[in-house]
Structure formats: structure tokens, C-alpha cells
């Protein structure tokens, strides 16, 4: 299994999904060798408790990230999972400073210098190891990303020579070149897992290099797994992939262990409406604020909390001011671990106004914290949830209508919570893993 992020080093839903799926596969008795790039250090999480694999969060992780796949200790609850860390930086949303730092650490270890591997169907530049903008999406993909992707592929092929496996499962575009290269060198079947596409991330201003990598990965794979039919539609229409090999496996959520609720909720007469996610065009923060402005014409005892960061953070702060609702809007910055759980538990309502959302795990997390949910119809998760409120992301009046209704009518909150809990229990990673297992078995035959 070729991954890009894994808890606690996550910038979005991908790490959460990879963790959940791996856990489900473990339960289903599938042997998983999970290959990860070396994580970038974050300065924010030293005080945070993660209920995720301890192998990275524990002291001594530096040693775990030795070049070319020194074995890292897996979380004790995994029975069939092994982890391998490769000294590569795959971190598209990092800051230039953190990138520089990580490169310096790699250089100190003398990790460079291998011969680069061929990627079937792709021309990629050789790794430069230098920070600098890549491609046409400024602020998003930083550092010499393409070079690092190639380096990841090279190291993965090297690792593959020493490991036994029946099949390659690669998550999202950054690992597709590695998947293609390992498949070419070993003759094993390749599954690529599409958690999002360049069209979801960048609208119509697609980065051509990223698109080419995605396309090569999808066409070169034996099976393409999509996180929703919405995404499957994009894979068929925008990437021209043969329909027969494109399958859908929905994401799921892990229910939090009970008893971790704050004993002393803040006494307040204000309701909290939460936006949580990257502040980017794709996530629709603008629609959230325009709906908020309408809500405030009917309901004043409310605070709109925007949790997250992204390239539109500044613009979104300005928009709140322009709309004259600044004092009702709170920006928390990027939240991790317990802070995420805490903000969910404070919320009276979670809104996901995404313009384009391949799946969207956050609404499931909100439900798992017993928070009612409004999601945009332009999301994969709306294919699996029925006991939530749904709106078109652009219909801010309807969004406001529904927000006001949830705030005003306790019976509506109650039924959404009750039914949401029941529905949530039907979405398990074990089921998603079983679907993947079926796909593996078809290919292994």
C-alpha cells in the first residue's frame, strides 16, 4: 500500500481514510505493507494526544525514518500491518519554511544519490532537493514536489525488491508514479485509489502535470477505486478511463470511544455553526459566509466558527468584514487532534458547503460527535447519508433557511442526531475493506 499521509501527519481526509481502510483490511485479515514518505515535522502537535498509530507520535520516530525502509514499529493493535517510511517529502500543503527544514534534515542523513527509476508512461524531472514553486497552482504544491514524487517511486521500487506482496494499492496521484514503477518492475497488479481529482482541487484551472500523472496512473492501473459515484463520473468523463475497471468504495468513519466528552461545556446562549476544512475555493467558505449573513437577519444568537486554513484564509476574513458580519464569525486557524474533537463537541451544527467534494469524511466525524449536519449535494458523502440536510452549495438562501431551522427547532436537532447515529453505524471501514478485498481477489486470480 503506497500512501502519502497517515495519522497523525495529516492535512486532510486522505490520511484519515488511509488509516481507516488499513485498519479495516487488518481486521479482514489482509496483510498490508504500508509505505509512507517521511513525515514533515509539525511544531503544533507536541501537546496533542492522538488515538492513532503511536509509531510516529512516539519519541524515537526520527530513528524510525531511516533511509530506504528501515522497519518502523506498527501500532500494537494492528495484527497484519507493517509500516515502511521512505525519506521523501510528500507534503503539498506545507509552508516553504517547513519544506526547507525537512530537506536539510534529509541532506544531513545523506539520503540522496540513488539512480532514478523509470516511470512507465510518464516523463518526470529528476529530484532537485530544492524549494521552489512547481506548476500552475501557486501556494498549493510547494517545493520540488515532482522531483520528490519521482524519488518516492525510486525508493519504493528499491523497497519492493526486498519485500513480498501480491498487489499494489496506491492512494492519490502523488503515489501513482511509484505504483506504476513498482508494477512495471514486479509484474504485480496495480490498484489506484482516487480520493480526489485535480478538477476537485483546482476547478477548471487544472495543473497539467498533476492531471497527466493522474491520467497515467488511472490508465496504467488494473483497477481504479473511487470514493464515490460523483468521483467515478469525473474519472470516466475527464480522464477517459474504461468504465469496467472503475469501482466505488465509500469511505467510513471510526466511532470515537465513549467517555471523552468535556465535563464542563462552556455556558453560553450563543449557538455555534461550524465550518471545518481547508479554506479553499473547493470547500466553499464564501457560500458559508453568505448564508451566515442571511441567517443573521433572522437569528442573532449565533456564532459562525471557521476552523481550518488555506489559500483563501485572508480573502475569507475580508469577506466576513465586507458582509458586515465580522463580529459573528470566529477563525480558529488549523486544528488538530483533540482540538478538532473539541470544536465538534461545541458545535450545534456542522455545515459542509463544498463546491466539489469527492467524498467528505468530516460530516461523518461531525455525526460521530452527535452534531447535526448540512452538506452540499455536490459531495460524494451525500450518496451515503440520508439523515442529514442537503443543499446545493450555491443556494445560500436555502442553506440559511436550513441553518435557521436547525437552530430554532430542537426536535429537528434531536431527530437528525438520533437517526444520524443509526445511519453512521452502518458505515464501517470493515465493509469498505471487504469491498477492496473483493477487488484484490479478482485481480489476484
Amino acid at each position: 500500500m503506497l500512501g502519502w499521509e497517515f495519522p497523525p501527519y495529516i492535512s486532510g481526509g486522505l490520511g484519515t481514510a488511509c488509516y481507516g481502510l488499513t485498519r479495516g483490511l487488518d481486521e479482514a485479515g489482509v496483510e498490508v505493507l504500508f509505505v509512507l514518505p517521511m513525515p514533515l515535522p509539525h511544531d503544533a502537535h507536541s501537546h496533542v494526544q492522538f488515538r492513532t498509530p503511536a509509531w510516529l507520535a512516539q519519541a524515537g520516530q526520527e530513528e524510525a525514518a531511516e533511509p530506504a525502509g528501515e522497519e518502523a514499529p506498527a501500532e500494537p493493535t494492528f495484527r497484519h500491518v507493517q509500516m515502511r517510511a521512505l525519506p521523501v517529502i510528500l507534503q503539498p500543503y506545507g509552508t516553504p519554511e517547513s519544506y526547507r527544514e525537512a530537506v536539510e534534515r534529509l541532506e544531513q542523513r545523506g539520503a540522496g544519490g540513488q539512480q532514478e527509476v523509470e516511470i512507465p508512461g510518464l516523463e518526470l524531472p529528476a529530484g532537485q532537493g530544492e524549494a521552489g514553486e512547481v506548476g500552475a497552482s501557486p501556494g498549493m504544491y510547494q517545493g520540488d514536489l515532482l522531483g520528490q514524487i519521482r524519488r518516492y517511486a525510486t525508493l519504493a521500487v528499491e523497497l519492493a525488491r526486498r519485500e513480498k506482496f501480491d498487489l499494489i494499492h496506491a492512494h492519490d496521484w502523488m503515489t501513482y508514479p511509484a505504483g506504476l514503477a513498482v508494477a512495471a518492475h514486479t509484474g504485480r497488479p496495480l490498484v489506484v485509489h482516487v480520493h480526489s481529482t485535480e478538477f476537485d482541487r483546482s476547478g477548471e484551472n487544472v495543473n497539467q502535470q498533476v492531471y497527466d500523472i493522474e491520467r497515467a496512473g488511472m490508465h496504467g492501473a488494473d483497477r481504479v477505486v473511487c470514493v464515490s459515484y460523483l468521483t467515478r463520473g469525473i474519472v470516466l468523463s475527464r480522464y477517459g478511463v474504461e468504465a469496467g475497471k472503475v469501482k466505488v468504495v465509500y469511505n467510513a468513519v471510526e466511532l470515537p470511544a465513549g467517555g471523552d466528552f468535556d465535563a464542563s461545556p462552556i455556558a453560553r446562549d450563543e449557538k455555534i455553526v461550524l465550518f471545518l476544512g481547508r479554506i479553499t475555493m473547493q470547500k466553499g467558505p464564501e457560500y458559508f459566509l453568505r448564508a451566515a449573513q442571511k441567517v443573521l437577519t433572522k437569528y442573532k444568537k449565533v456564532r459562525f466558527v471557521i476552523a481550518g486554513s488555506g489559500d483563501l484564509t485572508g480573502r475569507t476574513v475580508e469577506l466576513a468584514a465586507e458582509l458586515g458580519i465580522g463580529r459573528y464569525v470566529t477563525f480558529t486557524g488549523f486544528l488538530r487532534g483533540n482540538d478538532v474533537a473539541r470544536v465538534f463537541r461545541m458545535a450545534d451544527l456542522y455545515v459542509m458547503p463544498s463546491v466539489s467534494e469527492p467524498f467528505g469524511i468530516a460530516p461523518l466525524e461531525a455525526l460521530s460527535h452527535n452534531v447535526p449536519v448540512i452538506i452540499s449535494k455536490q459531495s460524494g458523502v451525500s450518496e451515503v447519508l440520508t439523515h442529514v440536510l442537503k443543499v446545493d452549495f450555491w443556494d445560500v438562501e436555502e442553506m440559511a433557511n436550513k441553518i435557521v431551522a436547525v437552530l430554532r427547532h430542537p426536535p429537528l436537532q434531536r431527530v437528525l442526531r438520533q437517526q444520524g447515529q443509526i445511519e453512521l453505524r452502518r458505515l464501517s471501514w470493515r465493509d469498505s475493506a471487504e469491498r477492496c478485498k473483493t477487488i484484490y481477489e479478482e485481480l489476484a486470480r
Binding site: K294, K298, L389, R408, P410, R414, V415, Q418
Partner: protein
């Protein structure tokens, strides 16, 4: 001798338009959708079914009888959108082979909340039946066959001779719905119970090709009816009239089945057809039926959880009837009429969360994308009613 008692329910709600918190108008109804649906169902069901019934009455020299309950909501929409349907019902009334049953004019759940409002709505419906069909109904059915002992007492007090309800297994136990029963707290009121298995064979299973008895022929069904002989008197076939052509499409052969059924039934022994009043005139009461809790003909549960099964439904009904005194005392005829149309049980059925995720019959009849959308819309309209009463929003 076994007597088939056909009773058909005819109802169309005034569906609500999308009404957001930012709306301020006082027209709450989706006139376009209501007109379209009324005309569509008239074409597919009411007109061809009435023509078939008229033809059968003629062909069998008045020995084929049926009973109808038609809500005030349906009659009003026929007047607005399909007057020829109303005329064809009046023509059926004139044959003398058709009996009309009383119910609440607005197809409401008022009995559960306000007795005064309930009695007024039943009176309105009685007057409507007298006015358009020249009949004074002797038999009562409450909305969706909701029923308990209290309802029996009130119906008897209002002068009705019988009430129709569901022959629910959990009420009947080993007893048969083919006998007549009385309520424990009434002097003489009769109960006619729906034979749900045979009724649902027509209403729900007729077109189902996976059903072991498919295809259902009139002869096969007449055999089943004939088996009641020796263990009962009546075969109460109670169903929505929309069964014919709307729930079971014409291409299932449902009209051919209906056309052939009277002949097939009457060909066996001396089986016949009766209206509801004829049935209570002819047959004795065989036992007492104690129904302390509300039953209905809905869902597997046969209770009222389809309309009052979650907090949203309970809240919407509570808030609706909390306005009763203010509305009734307002002397504003239009306001009273709007408020009464909001009492139609369908609005609460749309808020039902049972089976919602499974996409079953609840979803088929639901003009909303979800029960939540339906509740939000309804509560926004109640706000508007409150504003017209000069009350602040809750």
C-alpha cells in the same frame, strides 16, 4: 353466503409550496403541482375507475355495490382542477348502488388533539356529502382508519351506526375480520374491520411478479372470498381508490381484474356485494373488540407512528393545535381554512423517518427530498400563520 364490502378511499392533499424562512406570502399551496397531480390521477385512475364501476353496476342490474369516502380536500381539488371527476361520482351516487362514508373534511388527525375541531370537521364533511350526493352518511371512518374505543363513543354520540377500521392482528388475535364487532363502551355501534390480507392482495401485491399468487385472476380471488363461508359473513375490501390505475398501473391488468371480479364472486354460491350500511343491516354482531390504543391501516405496525412517530411530527402537530383557540376565535375565514388545510395528515406523513433510508412507499408519495425538508417547510408556514394571528414566532 359471503358478502363483499368494497370501500374505496379518495383523497388528495393540498400539497405545500416551498416556503422558506425568508418568505412572507400567505399562499402556502403549490397550485401548479396540485393541479398537475389531480389531473394526472383523474386521467389514470378516477375517470377510468368510475367508468368501470358505472359499467359494472349497469351490467349486474344493481347487484354490484360499492362504498366511497371522499375527503373535502379531494372534492375541492376536483372542483378546481377536474370537475368531470366530481360529475362522474355524482352519476354513481344516482345509481342507488353507491354509499358515501363520513370522515373529517380535512383528512386530519384532529381527533387526537381537539375534540371540538374534530366534530366541526366531521359536520362539514357530512354537509358536503348531503350537498353534492344527496346522502346523509350513516357510517364513519377516521383518517387512515385510525381508531380506538374513544373514537367509537364519539362516533356513536354523533349518530353514526358503524365505524370502519383495520382488522389488525394484534387486536383480533385468532378472531376473523369477517364478522361484525361492537366496541365495549358503546350501546349499538358496529365495527367493520378491513380484511387486510385480501385487501392488500389487490392494493399492494396485484402487479408484483415475484408474488407467488401472481398473476391474480378474478376467479382465483373469488375462490378466496368463497372460503369465508362457514367462518364469517363479510369480506371487507378496504383500499385507496388510487389502487386502480395509479398504484397498480393499467398495464398490470388491474381494470380487467376489477371488471371480471363481480361476475366471478357472484358465480359462486349466493355470494354478493353490499354497501357498508347494508352489511350492518343484514349481519349480527359476533363479539366485542377492545381497542384502548390507537390503531390504523398504515405500515406493518398498524399504529399511528407514520404520523406521530418522531419528535418533529409530535412538535409540528403540537404547535399546529396550540393555535386552535386563536385561529377559531379569529373570525378570519381564510386563516381558518389555511390552518385546517395544514391539518391534513399527509403533511405529517412526509415527516416520517421510518424506512426513509430504504426508499419505500413513504418515499414514493413524498414531494420532499427528505422528512427534514418537509418539517422545516411546515414550521416556516406555521410561523406565517402565527404572524397573521399577531403572535411572535416561537
Amino acid at each position: 353466503m359471503a358478502s363483499v364490502v368494497f370501500y374505496f378511499q379518495v383523497h388528495q392533499p393540498f400539497r405545500l409550496r416551498r416556503y422558506s424562512i425568508f418568505d412572507s406570502g400567505t399562499n402556502y399551496f403549490d397550485d401548479q403541482a396540485n393541479a398537475d397531480i389531480c389531473r394526472k390521477v383523474a386521467e389514470k385512475c378516477y375517470l377510468p375507475a368510475n367508468a368501470t364501476i358505472a359499467e359494472l353496476i349497469g351490467a349486474h342490474d344493481g347487484r354490484f355495490k360499492v362504498s366511497y369516502s371522499i375527503t373535502g380536500m379531494a372534492i375541492e381539488q376536483f372542483r378546481l382542477y377536474a370537475p368531470e371527476v366530481l360529475e362522474s361520482f355524482q352519476a354513481l351516487a344516482a345509481t342507488g348502488c353507491v354509499e358515501f362514508i363520513a370522515e373529517t373534511y380535512h383528512h386530519s388527525l384532529a381527533f387526537l388533539y381537539r375534540r371540538d375541531e374534530f366534530i366541526d370537521q366531521v359536520q362539514m364533511h357530512r354537509e358536503l356529502m348531503a350537498d353534492i350526493f344527496g346522502q346523509d352518511p350513516q357510517v364513519f371512518r377516521n383518517t387512515e382508519l385510525t381508531y380506538n374505543n374513544d373514537l367509537a363513543a364519539v362516533a356513536e354520540e354523533m349518530g353514526f351506526r358503524a365505524v370502519l377500521t383495520e382488522g389488525a392482528d394484534h387486536i383480533l388475535g385468532y378472531r376473523s375480520p369477517s364478522f361484525l364487532y361492537r366496541a365495549p363502551n358503546c350501546r349499538d355501534l358496529r365495527l367493520l374491520l378491513k380484511h387486510y390480507r385480501l385487501s392488500d392482495d389487490i392494493a399492494f401485491r396485484f402487479g408484483n411478479r415475484q408474488w407467488e399468487s401472481w398473476p391474480l385472476t378474478a376467479e382465483k380471488f373469488a375462490d378466496w372470498v368463497d372460503r369465508i363461508n362457514g367462518n364469517g359473513y363479510v369480506c371487507n375490501l378496504f383500499m385507496d381508490y388510487e389502487t386502480f390505475g395509479e398504484h397498480q398501473w393499467a398495464d398490470t391488468g388491474i381494470f380487467e381484474f376489477l371488471r371480471a371480479l363481480p361476475g366471478a364472486v357472484m358465480a359462486k354460491g349466493d355470494n354478493d356485494f353490499l354497501t357498508v350500511s347494508e352489511a350492518i343491516d343484514r349481519y349480527p354482531v359476533s363479539g366485542e373488540l377492545d381497542v384502548p390504543h390507537m390503531i390504523s391501516w398504515a405500515d406493518m405496525e398498524r399504529d399511528i407512528s407514520a404520523w406521530l412517530g418522531n419528535s418533529m411530527q409530535a412538535n409540528a402537530l403540537y404547535e399546529l393545535y396550540a393555535l386552535t383557540d386563536a385561529v377559531r376565535g379569529s373570525n378570519d375565514a381564510r386563516l381558518i381554512e389555511d390552518w385546517r388545510k395544514l391539518q391534513t395528515s399527509d403533511h405529517f406523513y412526509y415527516m416520517c423517518t421510518k424506512y426513509f433510508a430504504d426508499g419505500d412507499v413513504h418515499k414514493y408519495f413524498n414531494p420532499y427530498e427528505s422528512p427534514y425538508d418537509s418539517y422545516i417547510n411546515y414550521m416556516n408556514i406555521l410561523d406565517s400563520i402565527r404572524a397573521r394571528l399577531g403572535q411572535a414566532a416561537s
